[in-house]
Amino acid sequence: MLRTSKFKAFVAGVTLSASAAFGAMAAPEITFVRITPEQYQRSVHDIFGAGIKLDANAVETGFRDQGLLAVGARKLAMTSAGLEQFESLGQQVALQVVDPRRAATLVHCTPKAADAPDAACSEQFIKRTGLLLYRRPLTGEETNALVARANDAATKLKNFNAGVAASLVQMMVAPEFLFRIERSEPDPKKPGAMRLDPYSVASRLSFFIWDSTPDSELLAAAESGKLNSEKGLSQQIDRMVSSPRAEFGLRAYFSDMLGFDGFATLSKDTNLFPKFTKNAYDDAREQTLRTLVDQLLERNKDYRELFTTRETFLTPALAALYGVPLPRSQEMGGATPWVAYTFPANDNHVGLLTHASFLALHSHPGKSSPTLRGKALRENILCQRVPPPPGNVDFTLINDVSNPALKTVRQRLTAHSTSPACAGCHKITDPIGLSFEKFDSIGEFRTNENGIPIDVTGDLSGKKFDGIAQLAQIIKDDPAVTSCLINRVFSYGTARAPNADERKWLAEIQTDLRAKGVLWRDVVRRVASNPDFYTVPAPAAAEPQKAELQQ
């Protein structure tokens, strides 16, 4: 399956010629990162066309590491249940690829007979498709084995297409497809260090910027060696961030960073909140992603402005939730239920954090949660870690609405926070979380809680505010917003946390972009242009992200 003989010969050659000069050199090795269900689906669509029907969403769950599922993916193996589903998906895809309606364009050749093997024709298909699925050319050995599989299956099933399908399934369940295999090679610019080989560079770039498999042009740049040069790399990055496919990468990154996988298990009480159905969850998530695409890609705006922008997109369902009128034409339904909308200057909805996707995701099914919202803001937006609550804590005060002295969440949380065991963490989460209290569990606006006007004053890093608009401005100006984005983008792209040296140049980018403007394409371009983005540090060298709590 691997280019073993060639690879080993190469390694042996390097070791012989370079060991004296490089001293103790790390051996070229393979590491791998599991692709996500979304990446699987997008790869299939990019390779075989968007018409291929498959639902990969049900496959395998991931886990979060360093705040990102993308980093967790470096630690994920493949369960039996997961592989079973991927094999079944592979069968579904293969059947559609060899379907007579598609085979003409996807198989690229006509077999001599429909009911018998045709090695030459299968080989064409296997080489062409294998390059895209494995994200590198197949070795001769691999090609021969897959052609043999196709011949064998075509003979057994008396069907050429079934043979092609069998070879396709074999590629689609192989680790080369289900994982991003990263191969290293000695870095000529840093004696003793390792870097990714050109095809692995292409994969890393492609999954980073497009959330999908490399296209032919990128693979060609890997093959020609252009990706090894600064200029060639830079050309490809420019091309990729300008491509319409960059939208997929942006959506994938922010879905991960904002914890949108939480929507899969979000559950609101439809008796209390009849407007907030499962469809509304989808709209809420899409509202934020659409706003991000529009602001950061379409209009090339500064990332920090997302926290104060009143521009967004709404559907009729969301308009009802936010209590704003939409043009009637939209309600009648057009090609899309989405319409661009700008909240008036005096409206309470200001920026990303007043979207239902933030307010509802970080609340209880039937009531708001300042603590969860404060925690999400700290962890997802500012990259600060909030420790878990200690054991042996009695929380009953928080919910005791019968106590006449404790009518609002603020009063109840304050009572709770007088416990020294709780105070430390609640000081971190609550003062900012309480500023969202005018939005209930689903993000609807309110002014009173149990008859008492809601107090939304607080302070963040010593800066006092009254209400969400002022908090939004403070967040926008907080350097942590930019450093969090840049560090997370690096972690997302490399599936690991930056080490101390890498943090230095990441901090330089942060300073520079804070002055010039934190533009998404620049963030991606700057992070992906640094050679460290393609180094392969020993696992022990990767430092865990430090908690940056000040309190």
Binding site: F32, T79, S80, E84, P175
Partner: protein, 447 residues
């Protein structure tokens, strides 16, 4: 080792696939049950044991479920009254704990992790091989599915089952999808008269064999840290190869096997009623899957403690309720929480009754099964890691006595898991790490 395990299907099938034969005859598996239906006629061996885990979140109200006496003549207390009809088929364990050994209590994680894997990690992103995998290695080889995992609260991450350190087995949340996975078109009825292997399955099997053959080559080139992950991937390839191999053979007749009727999709979700409804469907599918020889290991989760499970119309999740509902001063416990916990216990009873309802000769499926029920906190209100409620059901083929209440105050909860492992024939003297390492079984239960 049973006749089924002894046979290397892959080798048999390789022989078949090498030639042009389509019909596969494997006489060794065409064995039948003895006249009383509890043993394979060919070998005289008893039907193989089965193992299941049953997880529920948020424990029980401390001081209100523990029987006041130990042994086999105890009385059930208020929160466990629902177990009355199954009392002689289960064991209740009280007083045990999960040790943190100075690590931070990852609330709703560390306690369940300790009981599922025997170890407690420093962070919530570490995990290790779970008890069902260890027992499955002993009893589960040769079946179509190495194990089946289900989650009743609509969350695929509800399961505590894992084969290694690199990811948990995902829980199936849709009973309809699980039906199709087990009893869909690939299912071979062990009691059907005719059997013709599907040539498409043969081709799929040969594809997996080809992938499997690259294991050695790839393992030689991968970084040390990734070897284990790659090994897990290839184990999954072998599991799938095995599944397809089983589908290509005429299975042994199993009179206890009843193929369940298909049913309509229901809305799955985090409401307690939905979870209990999903549980009913899943429990039926899993018991039928075991009785039909499709698996010998299953894992059921009623939902994570820190999950979304809740009652309709209630503004707080069950989890939030455990922390925020005031303790009723007269009753001495949180009333809403107690009612939900009792409902979950009723689901456990339904599972046990379902296993006992499947007759296999003069015994039942429950008789050859052990179900291990555990939870995340002794008392969820305070994230307590002590006085855990733990249950077992079934005797694993007469290897474990039932009907007992055992109080092992202060002992590591892993003692229960170790005892079950021993009953299931796992040859190990201990289970767990650090203070959670158990070396003593409950010998009074082992036969």
């Amino acid at each position: 080792m049973s006749a089924i395990e002894r046979l290397s299907r892959r080798n048999v099938l390789r022989g078949v696939l090498g030639g042009a034969a389509i019909t596969v005859g494997i006489p060794i598996l065409e064995c039948h049950l003895t006249s009383n239906g509890t043993a394979l006629a060919a070998t005289g061996q008893a039907l193989p044991p089965a193992f299941g885990t049953w997880f529920w979140g948020l424990g029980l109200a401390q001081g209100h479920w523990e029987p006041k006496t130990t042994g086999n003549k105890y009385e059930l207390r208020e929160h466990l009254k629902v177990f009355e009809p199954i009392k002689d088929k289960i064991n209740i364990f009280s007083g045990m704990q999960v040790f943190l050994d100075g690590k931070i209590n990852q609330n709703h994680y560390s306690g369940a992790q300790g009981q599922a894997t025997g170890m407690v990690s420093k962070t919530g992103s570490e995990y290790s091989t779970s008890i069902d995998t260890i027992i499955g290695e002993q009893i589960g080889k040769g079946t179509r599915f190495r194990s089946l995992e289900v989650g009743n609260d609509g969350d695929r991450k509800s399961s505590w089952s894992a084969r290694g350190q690199n990811g948990m087995n995902p829980a199936e949340i849709s009973p309809v999808a699980m039906y199709s996975r087990i009893f869909g078109s690939s299912f071979v009825d062990p009691n059907a008269a005719d059997f013709t292997p599907d040539p498409n399955v043969m081709v799929r099997h040969s594809v997996l064999s080809a992938v499997s053959d690259y294991r050695k080559q790839l393992m030689g080139e991968v970084s040390a840290i990734d070897k284990q992950r790659l090994d897990e991937y290839f184990t999954s390839v072998r599991d799938l190869e095995q599944k397809l191999a089983v589908e290509l053979q005429k299975p042994a007749a199993l009179p206890g096997c009843k193929v369940p009727e298909s049913f309509q999709e229901e809305d799955v979700g985090a409401l307690v009623d939905q979870a209990r409804s999903s549980h009913r469907l899943f429990a039926r599918l899993l018991t039928n899957a075991v009785s039909c020889g499709q698996t010998r290991v299953f894992n059921i989760s009623m939902g994570q403690g820190l999950g979304s499970l809740r009652k309709a119309g209630e503004i707080l999740t069950y989890h939030s309720l455990t922390h925020e509902e005031p303790v009723d001063p007269k009753l001495g416990y949180q009333v809403k929480c107690a009612r939900i916990a009792e409902e979950l216990m009723a689901s456990f009873r339904e599972l046990v009754e379902g296993l006992a309802a499947i007759k296999e000769g003069d015994k039942t499926l429950l008789d050859r099964t052990i179900v291990y029920a555990f939870t995340d906190h002794g008392e969820a209100r305070t994230h307590s890691m002590q006085k855990y409620p733990i249950f077992t059901a079934g005797s694993g083929g007469g290897r474990m006595k039932t009907g007992y209440h055992i109080n092992a105050e202060g002992d590591a909860a892993t003692r229960v898991g170790l005892t079950i492992m021993r009953a299931m024939g796992v040859a190990t003297g201990s289970w767990g790490t650090e203070s959670n390492r158990a070396t003593q079984t409950f010998n009074e239960l082992l036969v």
